[in-house]
């Protein structure tokens, strides 16, 4: 019977690691149950860290699991008359303190840069010869239960009269650093785009900035990941990463809508690009 339990406990790391590998390789029935495809530059580092930590875990997982299995297999009371009598081993204790400590310190230092890049060092631009933080392109205003996206108007600044406003749809260009300013109207929300590896809680009374650089054209979901009330699960937004050219075109269209039809005889009337909405 001990053998049976030994196998059972051995199955934990074996199946555990196997399913992880299957999920990571997208083998059925776990296809798709893994990190979603990454579309941001910083996400590559995060994915790399995730893989690294999982590999380290897998080694420890299999190692300890194997010991449990071996112990159950070997030291059955029916096959032994007497247990060994020992109660400590200082050298062993030191070894299994030092080695994990080294691994943990390595992990700790290894990831610091990634954290700094994603959350601490904001992209800059140079303006009038000075390097300043890149101003946010879009003000993301979270509310129960939806996302308002306030685009900076022609003046390039958010929170001014020429802002454009659209709900639940965010269109952004790829290949440039995008800075978003996050605010909330009521309770805590969290801005989460799984495919960009971006997540930031939005706390009432605080401004948060996030930034990322999209790598490819794609369409993805925006989810709220901080409980915000009965409709928490309904806070779905759509993020479209488009080429810079398409982005400019889209922006022009949106701005054209902000301009009403004017008297065509007036020489000052600007050209309206698109037909306005009803």
């Amino acid at each position: 019977m001990n053998r049976f339990w030994s196998i059972l406990f051995c199955l934990v790391p074996i199946l555990g690691t196997a399913t992880f590998v299957m999920a990571a390789w997208g083998l059925p029935p776990f296809q798709g149950a893994w990190l979603p495809k990454n579309y941001s530059v910083a996400g590559e580092t995060i994915d790399h860290l995730f893989y690294l930590l999982n590999w380290i875990s897998a080694v420890i997982f299999i190692g300890t699991g194997a010991v449990i299995g071996w112990v159950l297999w070997k030291y059955d009371h029916r096959r032994r008359d007497q247990a060994s009598y020992f109660s400590h081993n200082t050298q062993l204790e030191i070894v299994w303190t030092i080695i994990p400590a080294i691994i943990l310190i390595f992990i700790a230092f290894y990831q610091m840069n990634s954290w700094a890049e994603t959350k601490m060092i904001r992209p800059t631009i140079s303006q009038n010869g000075q390097t300043i933080n890149k101003p946010p392109m879009v003000l993301v205003m979270a509310k129960r239960f939806g996302w308002e996206f306030h685009y900076a108007g022609p003046d390039g600044l958010i929170e001014t009269q020429d802002d454009d406003y659209i709900e639940n749809e965010l269109v952004l260009p790829v290949g440039t650093d995008v800075v978003l300013q996050l605010e909330t109207r009521d309770v805590i929300h969290s801005f989460f785009v799984p495919q960009l590896r971006v997540k930031q809680d939005i706390v009432p009374g605080m401004k948060q900035f996030i930034w990322f650089r999209g790598t490819d054209i794609a369409e993805m979901d925006i989810a709220c990941t901080e409980l915000c009330g009965w409709g928490h699960y309904t806070m779905k937004g759509r993020l479209r990463l488009v080429s810079q050219k398409d982005y400019n075109l889209w922006l022009t269209e949106r701005r054209a809508m902000q301009t009403p039809a004017m008297d065509p005889d007036d020489p000052e009337t600007p050209q309206v690009l698109e037909e306005r909405l009803p």
């Binding site: 010991v67 009371h77 247990a83 303190t97 969290s190 590896r197 009374g205 948060q208 928490h232």
Partner: protein
């Protein structure tokens, strides 16, 4: 009625002064630590069933979203065709977490086993403050009442999650007030318990019971009591602040000018993050409050059934102390993406990495204990090995999450859910189950059925992994927790089958607990009688009668050695009780 029977042990020469007790004072307003322990045990098991039902309801919604939910659908939402509203789902997970943490795991570990075992294991006749002990149980009842009442309020209970983050919790319905009150009562109860445990352990040890002769269980309970004593006041203060925010508009946790729904204006001047800091300053140590006692009990069980001394007794104690100490400086890892100072995240990451060390040392020492032993795979032993095995998974996923960049992706997703269920269910609950099987003969004088016990173990073990392991994948994918219906996102639509598999496993795991229920209650009546020391264990409680009478020991216990002298080469039997005088 039966209580009029003269208990012979009460007239024992050493135990005079204990009057014959009437029913009420024996079983209800008991001051005997064992009865109080059993009271905690039974109420925790009852709430375990309630919390489990809530979990089933959650899983139902995740597998068959919005379909007619059994029991709740027809009774509460018949006019909606059985479709539950979103707030009801929020209530489900809020109450599931609250009940499981505050009414099940904490009370069953420190309330039930702490109470039952501490005096027995250190050779005391009762707790230092028996009446305080009684109050610590009866202060749970106002908390129970608050929670049950809150189910009847609009919204069917508190809906802001067990973390109750403002400002959501400030605008939540009245049930939130009851929730806060309930937790304050739980806090008072735990506080009384922890004072009692510390005093008892420090002051009431039997002759010869040095601190370093105490079993790991007692050590763990001692450290837990210290953790509770230092962390709880912070939570209690925070809860009072939230209550006054809600009732008196003090605005501790609300910033200026927040208007919700154009109608509810929250008075400001405060800071929502303050609550998170205060809350996690308690709730992270609370995580250790929920695991350390189980670690202690598992250490005892492993050593007993490996018939071998516990490997590294002192390092085990030092690592307990290290976990408890570091436990106070890691709370920020719950808040990496909360908007907290982003540089601060680095220091919390470092302390979190550090706390993995003592946890690792404990695991290695358990393995060292098993190595070279003579294993008896009884039910408690299986649960304990299961504990170690599951704790490894929970610990490793903890390291993955402790890395802030990785946490960006998996924070508030099912990866977290998988992690803490591995630690709290996989480890703590398996540890508790092992402890119930192990000490059951002592508590009730009868043994539980081994076959049913093993059946219970294997079913629980398989389905627990089937339930919680796939959640890692959901989390990596970004599947957010606390979503009543994530399938309206294109991103997560294809995860429905995996969720249905998880739900299936969860239901089977729930059903497996019926085996335990039958075994537990059946053995009270039909179980074979147990003698004083059915497991041939060393610790003091096994030299008392089963079940121990009022006053515990029928002799004055004196301790001659440490608790783990198994298979001593110079002895003919493989155990050496702590009370046995040296030859």
């Amino acid at each position: 009625m039966v209580n009029k029977v003269q208990h012979p042990e009460l007239n024992h020469p050493k135990r005079t002064g204990h009057p014959v007790l009437r029913f009420l004072s024996t079983y209800v307003f008991a001051t005997d630590h064992k009865i109080i322990g059993l009271q905690f045990l039974f109420s925790s098991l009852f709430w375990f069933a309630v919390g489990g039902m809530l979990a089933m309801a959650i899983r139902w919604q995740l597998a068959f979203p919005w379909s007619d939910m059994p029991i709740f659908g027809p009774t509460l939402f018949a006019s909606e065709g059985g479709q539950i509203p979103g707030t009801f789902y929020n209530m489900l997970f809020t109450m599931h977490a609250t009940i499981m943490i505050f009414f099940v795991i904490i009370p069953i570990l420190s309330g039930a086993f702490g109470n039952y075992l501490i005096p027995l294991m250190i050779g005391a006749e009762d707790m230092a403050f028996p009446r305080l002990n009684m109050f610590s149980y009866w202060f749970m009842w106002p908390a129970f009442a608050c929670m049950i009442l809150s189910f009847t309020l609009p919204g069917f209970g508190p809906t802001s999650g067990w973390t109750a983050y403002p400002t959501l919790s400030l605008i939540a319905g009245d049930a939130q007030n009851l929730w806060i009150l309930g937790l304050i009562f739980v806090g008072i109860s735990s506080m009384m318990g922890s004072i009692n445990y510390m005093t008892t352990i420090l002051q009431m040890r039997a002759p010869g019971m040095h601190m370093f002769r105490m079993p790991m269980t007692v050590w763990a309970m001692f450290i837990t009591a210290i953790l509770q004593a230092f962390a709880l006041p912070v939570l209690t203060a925070a809860l009072f602040m939230q209550l006054s925010d809600r009732l008196l508009a003090t605005g501790f946790f609300a910033p200026e000018s927040i208007v919700v729904n154009n109608s509810i204006t929250i008075s400001g001047g405060g800071e929502p993050l303050l609550w998170q800091h205060l809350f996690w300053f308690y709730s992270h140590p609370a995580v250790y409050i929920m695991i350390l006692p189980a670690m202690g009990m598992v250490s005892d069980i492993l050593s007993c059934f490996a018939r071998k001394p516990l490997f590294g007794y002192r390092p085990m104690i030092y690592s307990l102390i290290a976990i408890a100490g570091l436990g106070f400086v890691v709370w920020g890892h719950h808040m990496f993406v909360s908007g907290m100072n982003r540089i601060l995240a680095i220091s919390f990451m470092v302390s979190t990495m550090l706390i993995a060390l003592p946890s690792g040392i404990k695991v290695f020492n358990w393995l060292g204990t098993l190595w070279g032993g003579r294993l008896f795979l009884t039910t408690p032993m299986l649960f304990s090995i299961g504990f170690v095995s599951m704790f490894i998974i929970g610990g490793l996923s903890g390291i993955v999450m402790a890395a802030p960049p990785v946490d960006i992706q998996i924070h508030d997703t099912y990866f977290i859910v998988a992690h803490f269920h591995y630690v709290l269910f996989g480890a703590s609950v398996l540890g508790v189950m092992g402890a119930i099987y192990y000490w059951y003969p002592k508590m009730f004088g009868r043994k539980m059925n081994e076959t049913m016990g093993k059946l219970h173990f294997i079913l629980t073990f398989i389905f627990l992994n089937g339930t919680f392991f796939p959640m890692h994948f959901l989390g990596a994918r970004g599947f957010p927790r606390r979503y009543a219906d994530a399938y309206r996102f294109e991103e997560f639509q294809d995860l429905l089958p995996l969720n249905q598999f998880i739900t299936l496993c969860a239901f089977l795991m729930g059903a497996a607990q019926l085996v335990f229920l039958i075994n537990f209650f059946g053995s009270l009546i039909w179980g074979p009688k147990a003698d004083r020391n059915p497991w041939h264990a060393n610790t003091l409680e096994w030299s008392a009668p089963s079940p121990p009478p009022h006053g515990n020991f029928d002799f004055q216990p004196t301790v001659y050695r440490g608790p783990y002298e198994y298979s001593h080469p110079e002895r003919s039997v493989d155990y050496w009780p702590q009370t046995e005088p040296p030859p």
